[in-house]
Symmetry: C2
Subunit: 421 residues, 2 copies
C-alpha cells in the first residue's frame, strides 16, 4: 500500500524526519597529518603551557633585571655572557648575578633570568662581556610562560572543523593523533529505465544527477558511494537499496517518486521495513515531490528526478543530516547575503507553496544585485549559471525590481569570489 | 654579498615581485569525474542545444495544438494515442493530425507535435483514445529546444573553478574530459638547527610551521611537497633548495631570514642564480623580515620564522602567486566583512608600518563584532583562536572601541559558520 502525497511545510517535514532519525556518531583517531577539515569529537584542551618557559621576543641577552637597577649612561653595568640559546633549546645551567645568555628570538630564557636586553641596547665591550647603560624592567622583551595558551585552557571546541593553523597547533602541543567524527557514508541510487552510466550509449540519458549529488555529498563532508542505476522495477530498486543499507549511513535515491505510472521508489521503500516513509511531499517548488523515510534505522531521502527539484530536496533533508552526522550543527546551513533584485520576478502560476528561484548575485557599484533565472525545474543550465537562490514565501506572487532579498549562496570549492574585494 | 634589508610597502613589494615572475600555466585533460574544484583552461561553450528537442514539462499527451482550434466543453476533439515516450527516448515515428503521444515529465516531444495536454486536461474515453475539451495554445507545457542552453553559448568562463552542478552539466553536454590548469607544486623547506620532524625528539622543536603551510597550500589549490629540514648551514640549505627547484613550481622557505648571525637563507639564495632576491623587508608587522626572490625562473618566498610573521608573508606573496598559477585571478584574495571593534586597540610601539592584528569575529545581536588578540608574533594560539585579521594603516596608533573595521576572513575547510543564519 503506497502512501499518498500529503504536502507539509518544509519545517514540519524536516522536524518529522529528524525526530525519526536516531543519530549515532562514530569516531576515529587520526594522525594530525590526515585530520585537516575533520570535525573534533571533543573539546581540545591544552596539555601544557605555550610557551613552555618564558621566551625571548628579540635577539638579545637574557639577564636578571635587578642587576641593572643602578645602570646609567655614565655608570654601565657589565655582564659576562655565559652561553647562547636558540629556539627549542634551553641553557643547561642557571644564569647567575651579572651573567647573561645570548638568546635569539623565540628562545627560552635560562633559569633565573627575567628579562631580555636587546642587542641594540647592549654594548659588547670584550669577547663575552656586554655593558648595559640603563635600568631594564623585569619582563622586557619576554613572552611569559603560558602567554599564548595556558595548560587546561579549552582552545578548540567539539564540533570545530580543523584548519591549517589548528593542525600545527596540535603538533605544537605534542598531540600526534586526534579523535574526530567519522565521515558519514552516503549511498546514491539512480532510478530510471532511460538512464545509463555509459557516456556513449545512444538513446539513453547519462545519469549526470548521480554525479552532481556525489560531488555535493563530498563537498559537505560526506563520503559518496554510488549504487548504480536501478531500472523502473520494484525488485531491482529493492535489491540496490538493500545493498546500500549494508554499506552506508544514509541513502539518496534519485527519481521515481512522483505520480507517474512507473514511480516505484516510495512503494518499494514502504515494503522494506519500519517506519518506512516519514515524509511524502513538501510545500515548496521545485521539489514538492520530495520524500524521506527510514529503514532499519537508516535514513533514505527520495530526491525527485528533475534536477532543480532534486537539489531542493537535497538542501532540505540531506544537508542538515550530513552535517549532523559529521558532528556539525544543523542549524546554520547557508551563507546568506542581502541583495537587490535586478528585475521584477512574477510567479505566473499561483500556488500556496514556497518557491525557490535560482539567481546569480554580482557585485555592482550600486551594491550586490541578484538576477533571477526563471525556467522549468528540469533545467540544469540555470543551476550552472547561478551562484545562489532565494525563497519566496507562500503568500507572495511577485518580487519587485530593487526589492531586498536574502540570497542563499550555493556551495563552491573556492571561497566566493564575488564577495572578495 | 648578502642584500641588506630595504623595507618597501606591501604593494610595492608585490608589484616588484610579480613583475619579475614569469607566469607559465600548465594544463591537463581530466575525466570530468576528477575535475571537481579544478579551474577551466578555456571558456566552456555548449556543443549542443539543451534540451536537444522540445521537452514536456508535465505528464500528459503531446499533440498538434492546431487540432484543438474548435474544441470546447461541448465539442470535444478526440485523439488516438499512438505511442509513449519517457525522458531519454524519442518516438520513432511522427505524430499525425488527431494523434497523440503519452509523454512523461522530461520526455522529448515527438516530431510534428508542438504542445502538451496535461493528464488532468485530457479525458480518456477508450483504450488509446483521449478527448480534449478546450483550445490549447502551441507550446503549452513545453520546454523549447535550447531553452536551457543554446548551442554555441558560453556557459562557464575560463578561470572558473568547477562545482558539483558544473560537472553534471559537462556530462549532460556529453563532455567526458575537460582541460584544466595543472595545480602548482609548492615545495616547503624548514630551516633551523633546533627543528625536528620527529614528534618525540627531546630538546628539539617539532617543525609545525611546515605542516601549517603545507595545509594552507593545499587549501588554496596548490600541491605541497615537503623538502624537510635544513640546519643553519649554507650548503645544506642550498642543496635542499636545489632539490626543490627540480620538483616544484615555487618554493617556500621557513625561517632563517632575519638579522641573526645564523640567518643564512637570503645569502644562500643570492649565490644560487639570477635575479636572486627581489624583495627583502616589507613595511608590515608582523612580517617585516619577509622576502621573495627568483632562481632559474622559479619564485622563492622567504617566510620569517615566527608564525604570525610567516603567515603575513604567505598572505602577501604566496597566496596571489598560487592563485595566478592555478589559473585564477590574484586581485580578489580575501573575503572581507565589516565588523565593529569589541574593544580599543592600542599599538604601544610606534612604527611607521602597517600592522596586522588577528581577531575573532562573532555575530551578536548588535551586529558583527571583532575581538582583537594582541601578543607577540611568535604566538600560534592567537591564530588558532582567530577567524580573521585586520590591517591598520601606518599612520594610526589606535583603533577605538566600536570603530568599524574591514576583517579579512581566514580560510576554513567549511563555509564560515558565523556568517550562516
Amino acid at each position: 500500500m503506497q502512501r499518498k502525497f500529503r504536502y507539509v511545510t518544509v519545517d514540519q517535514a524536516l522536524r518529522d524526519f529528524m525526530k525519526a532519525v536516531k543519530l549515532k556518531l562514530s569516531y576515529e583517531n587520526l594522525p594530525i597529518y590526515e585530520a585537516y577539515g575533520r570535525v573534533l569529537a571533543n573539546d581540545l584542551t591544552a596539555t601544557k603551557d605555550i610557551p613552555k618557559y618564558d621566551m625571548s621576543h628579540f635577539d638579545g641577552y637574557a639577564i636578571r633585571a635587578g642587576d641593572t637597577a643602578l645602570a646609567t649612561v655614565n655608570n654601565p653595568v657589565s655582564f659576562r655572557v655565559v652561553g647562547r640559546t636558540r629556539p627549542g633549546g634551553r641553557l643547561a645551567r642557571k644564569v647567575g648575578p651579572r651573567e647573561a645568555c645570548y638568546v635569539t628570538t623565540g628562545a627560552y630564557l635560562p633559569e633565573d633570568t627575567d628579562t631580555v636586553v636587546s642587542v641594540e641596547a647592549a654594548t659588547a665591550v670584550a669577547e663575552d662581556v656586554i655593558e648595559v647603560r640603563r635600568k631594564i624592567q623585569p619582563g622586557e622583551h619576554v613572552i611569559p610562560q603560558g602567554k599564548d595558551v595556558k595548560k587546561g585552557e579549552t582552545v578548540l571546541e567539539k564540533g570545530h572543523a580543523l584548519r591549517a593553523q589548528d593542525i600545527g597547533f596540535l603538533a605544537a602541543l605534542g598531540i600526534s593523533q586526534v579523535k574526530v567524527v567519522k565521515k558519514p557514508i552516503v549511498a546514491i541510487l539512480s532510478v530510471g529505465d532511460e538512464l545509463t552510466d555509459r557516456f556513449d550509449e545512444v538513446g539513453k540519458t547519462f545519469s549526470s544527477h548521480a554525479l552532481i549529488f556525489s560531488k555535493l555529498v563530498g563537498e559537505e563532508g560526506g563520503v559518496p558511494i554510488y549504487l548504480g542505476i536501478a531500472p523502473d522495477d520494484k525488485s531491482k530498486i529493492q535489491s540496490k537499496i538493500r545493498n546500500g543499507l549494508k554499506k552506508a549511513d544514509m541513502i539518496l535515491t534519485i527519481a521515481g517518486v512522483s505520480k507517474g505510472d512507473k514511480d516505484y521508489v516510495p512503494a518499494t521503500i514502504e515494503t522494506m521495513g519500519k517506519p518506512g516513509i516519514i515524509v511524502r511531499g513538501i510545500d515548496i517548488r521545485p521539489g514538492r515531490a520530495s520524500g524521506a523515510g527510514i529503514i532499519n534505522g537508516r535514513p533514505i531521502i527520495m530526491l525527485p528526478g528533475l534536477i532543480q527539484s532534486a537539489l531542493v530536496c537535497f538542501y532540505v533533508f540531506a544537508l542538515p543530516l550530513i552535517r549532523l552526522m559529521s558532528g556539525l550543527s544543523s542549524s546554520n546551513l547557508w551563507t546568506i547575503i542581502k541583495a537587490r533584485m535586478a528585475e521584477r520576478l512574477v510567479f505566473t502560476e499561483f500556488i500556496p507553496f514556497k518557491k525557490v528561484t535560482f539567481v546569480r548575485v554580482v557585485r555592482t557599484p550600486m551594491g550586490i544585485v541578484a538576477r533571477p533565472f526563471t525556467g522549468e525545474s528540469a533545467l540544469l543550465g540555470i543551476v550552472v549559471k547561478s551562484n545562489g537562490f532565494i525563497i519566496t514565501p507562500e503568500n507572495r506572487t511577485m518580487i519587485e525590481e530593487g526589492e531586498e532579498v536574502d540570497v542563499h549562496l550555493l556551495p563552491t570549492p573556492l571561497p566566493y569570489d564575488f564577495l572578495r574585494e
